[in-house]
Amino acid sequence: ASRTNSIGDNSSNTSDEVTEVELVFKPHPDMIPSSSGGGGQDFPQVSQLQTRFIKTSANASVEHLNKYLGMRLGLELDIDTDKDKKSHIACSTWIAPNGNFIRIPHGLTLGQICDKYWRFNKPLEVFYCVNYVKKDEIFE
């Protein structure tokens, strides 16, 4: 049984006062291509994207989630995005509280997302889109 070791485990615990948020991080359904993703780069394969179960601080922002996802996908899919600094994995975060997908604005924290969009008594559900972005394509 392969057990995933913690990566960069730092021992600095934050105080218990910080509220934590648990969320389900799912691939955006519209991101799923019918055959393959365009753009010349067949990335990512749908089967390689998985639903992720995350716990983090309510202070974490969508940028934290996107950065984390980019790091994890880079590791898991073995994509050398930083090798030449020519490309990287760009992620965007969405939410669908009423079935309609809304792109979560930059800078919002998970606590704010819960307050603004997610007033349900179930764990927060957030969707992600992943793109393989070349250096020329400036995002954000």
């Binding site: 179960f53 974490a60 940028e63 994890r72 008594n121 764990p123 927060l124």
Partner: protein
């Protein structure tokens, strides 16, 4: 009699996950570091022996 009310922001917790296997990753954005913990989905052990 004054009843103490704990003001706690209780958020729903995830279910059907294996909390014993986690990946912890500190992530820093704009000098703000948070630790993101990822859980694995609980593996379903099929204990039913329904097949004849």
């Amino acid at each position: 009699k004054v009843s103490k009310k704990k003001i706690r922001n209780i958020r729903p917790r995830l279910k059907n996950i294996d909390r014993s296997q986690v990946v912890r990753q500190p992530v820093t954005v704009n000098n703000v570091t948070v630790v993101i913990t990822e859980y694995m989905m609980r593996s379903v052990t099929s204990s039913s022996q329904s097949n004849p």
